[in-house]
């Protein structure tokens, strides 16, 4: 994990069930820690990689403008201005009635990944993190959603990176989204269309992933909507909890976050 204000990642023992960390003789709970986004590279998201998400488009995938279901992985970029951290405030832009929560497992790349073979693709992953990929709701996925997905603070990452070997099967992790402590979404990476190794192989067939880059495996269907003041907690089994609060954009500015 990365302590706020420090430059380097710190290696600590994490208990993802109690959300506590141990460093030497000290134990601290996540709520008491000020930690920064642990990611240094480019963040790539994957569209339509949950079965239910693709199914929710129904027969529309055969109609214009889509004409057919997706063939290769459909990716997007969450640029640097979107980066946020555990406990960070997510600005609600003026004139936008609600935001969509994208609960994503993030694969943190450990070594340069080019044209990977599915059989050993996972060995290129250094570890896993949680990403809250926020969007302004949009029905059409025909054109790139930069205006919907690339706003300031719209990508919370953390709280930490759990090393690959600590996670037995990343293709079977439960994820839950709580809004103001109420469970609003539940899904599992078992429902991915392209399981993780396949996704890594298919993405690196056309572009290199570099150490520090993060590939989001997808966001599940029926993304919860949130308003100003809502507290969001994304839990991913074996990884931990990621918490953020939605605030008025004006308040975020006032606090010097924009």
């Amino acid at each position: 994990m990365k302590v706020l204000g420090s430059q380097e990642l710190l290696s600590v023992a994490v208990n993802p069930v109690t959300n506590t960390v141990t460093l030497g003789d000290d134990e601290a709970s996540l709520a008491d820690l000020q930690i920064d986004n642990p990611v240094t590279g480019t963040i790539y998201g994957t569209l339509l990689n949950y079965k239910g998400e693709l199914e929710s488009l129904g027969d529309a995938v055969y109609d214009k403008p889509y004409s057919s279901p997706p063939n290769a992985p459909v990716l997007y970029i969450k640029p640097a201005n979107t980066f946020n951290r555990n406990g960070g405030l997510i600005p609600m832009p003026e004139g936008i009635p609600a935001l969509e929560i994208g609960a994503a497992l993030g694969l943190v790349i450990g070594k340069k990944a080019v044209a990977l073979d599915e059989k050993n693709a996972l060995t290129y992953v250094a570890g896993y993190t949680i990403v809250n990929d926020i969007s302004v709701p949009h029905d059409s996925v025909y054109r790139p959603a930069v205006q919907h997905k690339a706003r300031d603070g719209f990508c919370s990452i953390g709280p930490w990176i759990i090393e690959r070997d600590e996670v037995q099967n990343p293709d079977d992790l439960a994820l839950r989204v709580f809004i103001n402590e109420k469970l609003q979404q539940e899904n599992s990476t078992v429902n991915l269309i392209r399981p993780i190794s396949r996704l890594l192989a298919d993405v690196t067939e056309f572009m290199t992933l570099n150490p520090g880059d993060v590939l989001l495996v997808g966001v599940p269907e029926q993304a919860p909507l949130v308003q100003i003041g809502d507290k969001i907690r994304i839990e991913i089994e074996g990884i931990g909890n990621l918490e953020n609060i939605i605030v008025d954009e004006k308040e975020a500015k006032w606090r010097g976050l924009l």
Partner: protein, 252 residues
Amino acid sequence: MRRARIAYGGAIHEAVECAGQLKLEDGRIVEEHDVVWLTPIEPRTVFALGLNYADHAAELAFSAPSEPLVFLKGPNTFVGHNAFTRRPADVTYMHYECELAVIIGETARNVKPEDAYKYIKGYSVANDYAIRDYLENYYRPNLRVKNRDTGTPFGPWIVDATDVADPMNLKLTTHINDKLVQEGTTADMIFDIRTLISYLSSFMTLSENDVILTGTPKGSVDTAVGDVVVTEIEGIGRLVNTIIGDESFTNR
């Protein structure tokens, strides 16, 4: 001034153009053909415009968009002047796109169009290759078309904004093997540079070394392995790129 990032003598240098040669920070003068050209800056967030010239939109059978069609590019795709770009063996249509690159110089948020030029550090040339075989209708143009390794030559240098009197009136050309294949002018952009900076900064913060690739005019044709593709913008630079095949990539 025209500034480049280059490798020479085993080290990376900042250099400035000096009467057809390059002057390193330590005062040494070197020949342009003796250096390895890196991208003129290390790009942060890179925006690219689709269909931003009416004639190009018509050529692709699209009507001109009512708001800018913007997509993002990752750092893996950039290469410098005189670099090689891979054309996979299985593709049937890979075309160049000569584009004016606008490089942001300072933090920009909610910029009014009339103030937009103040936020520009300089200009460069980009060749935003696309492989049409891989187009799909999801977040189109998708990254498999537009964000391939070596798919975006960028350079040779950044020209200071103060040295460009009117970026909205520059001639663009592309030559393949010395034959003119694309010709246009930045005057024909649908959304001009001021509008693009104002639009993007209306919903997100721009920062130093963010880059806007402003789109390409009509005249995109297929390329072949071995082609030397020269994208040039009047007063900005002449960016040379060579297309190579899979055989140059040992991991394929």
